[in-house]
């Protein structure tokens, strides 16, 4: 390691290489957080307002997904499904990773949404009804605006987790940031530098996401609201 942190290597070789990986990472993170977030909200609402039968089944699906490592889920999707005789579902690495991330994010998000919906005081709903609002008007004008603000910190955290767990796509050979870094290392034998640079990419993504979420939280903040007594 004579030329440790050699600028030519970093700027001409490593960064262009890792930028490609970054694109793939974003290609996983953005759709997974959007679609997963949406499904998570639906699941959370079902877990609170659904019929007992629906509530119980969604609850148990979430419990299983949260109790099993994402690594195992990805392996099942990518290696497991094709081995089912008669079914033979072959997923591309990208599809397997994306589906795994969506399922995982949705389950964790639903947990926050559920907690938030349960935390809205009964009195708020009663007051809306007493003014003659319909169920739908109550949900739209009172429950949702309060729920969004309460759920934002938790759901934002989940997106940050997703940024980091997107590195697991490497396990199902979907080559994103971590995967590209691994390949570059195997060609150049400079693990410390390459992995450190890749780490910086993640740090930037995570810090940017944290900053944006804090901005959003501040923009939506209401004096005294959300301070739990």
């Amino acid at each position: 390691m004579l030329d440790f942190l050699d600028p030519t290597f970093i700027f001409d070789r490593a960064i262009p290489y890792l930028n490609q990986g970054l694109l793939m990472s974003l290609g996983l993170i953005v759709p997974a957080s959007l679609i997963g977030g949406f499904i998570g909200v639906v699941m959370g609402v079902l877990r609170v307002f659904g019929s007992p039968w629906i509530r119980r089944s969604v609850d148990s699906i979430v419990a299983v997904i949260r109790g099993v490592p994402l690594t195992v889920q990805l392996m099942i999707l990518y290696f497991g499904l094709p081995s089912v005789p008669g079914l033979k579902i072959y997923l591309s690495p990208y599809a397997a990773a994306l589906i795994g991330f969506i399922v995982c994010t949705a389950s964790y998000q639903s947990e926050y949404v559920r907690g938030t919906l349960l935390s809205i005081r009964q009195g708020q709903i009663k007051a809306a009804q007493a003014l003659g609002m319909t169920r739908w008007q109550t949900i739209r004008s009172v429950i949702v605006p309060q729920a969004i603000r309460r759920a934002l910190p938790g759901c934002g955290n989940e997106i940050i987790y997703l940024v980091k767990y997107s590195s697991l796509a490497y396990i199902v050979t979907c080559i994103e940031l971590t995967g590209e870094a691994k390949i570059l290392v195997s060609r150049t034998f400079r693990p410390t530098e390459v992995y450190l640079i890749a780490a910086c990419y993640y740090l930037v993504m995570v810090s940017a996401a944290t900053w944006l979420l804090a901005r959003l939280e501040k923009a939506l903040a209401i004096p005294g609201f959300g301070v739990q007594k």
């Binding site: 005081r121 009195g123 708020q124 009663k126 007051a127 809306a128 009804q129 007493a130 003014l131 003659g132 609002m133 319909t134 169920r135 008007q137 004008s141 009172v142 605006p145 309060q146 603000r149 209401i222 004096p223 005294g224 609201f225 301070v227």
Partner: protein, 261 residues
Amino acid sequence: MNARPNDTPILRAEHFTKYLSGRKILDDCSISIYPGDVKVLIGPSGAGKSTFLQCINCLLEPDEGEIWLGDRKVDVRNTRELCELRQHVGMIFQDFNLFDHLSAEDNVALAPRKVRGMNKQEALKRAHAELRRVGLEDKARLYPAELSGGQKQRVAIARALAMDPTVLLLDEPTSALDPELVGEVLTVIRDLASHGMPMIMVTHQMEFAQAVATEILFMEQGRVIEQGSPDELLAPGSQTRTQDFCVRLHDLCGGEAAAQE
């Protein structure tokens, strides 16, 4: 007395019975409101006063009983009729239940906009008028967490008034307030009463009840057991349960208040 038995009452709740987890909370309670009526429900805690009040606008659905709005029977299973009933009947809660995510003016303007379809400007104008009526126009932009308990309750009253209710239900409006804040809320309520707003009120403020009530209903174990004008029920030596209850209440609270001073 304002009651004119020959006219149709504005609102009539008849033969209400309500069970909660197998226990009979309300047992055949009835009440009717004529223009200018201020009816006060009193009684020991657990007597079913709040339940009765919440059944009148169907926040709790009574198991038996009928609600009449004027000369029309309200079908509470019909969402449209139910919402219409609730628009006519304003409600003030013990713990205010202001919408925590909205400022005072938006709290008042929300229902006129969403339920009555006013445009935003019109609704806000109305909200300011109502806030002025309760003496809080300067606090219009503040959020519930920035208001004192008494101010919150006054905003809640403004919120109910903005829907032009024909009757106002008040569920212990001063019980959650610090003693020094009770007065400002009672002043607003007394003012409304003197302008002829019909009300049904649950309260433990006996002196206030005696001063503004046109009729007192004494409840115990889910039943209305005594009913009459304050003068009848509260006359010294009238030997009514109401009078007995009030004397005991006064001994307890009055003694305490005297000790505090």
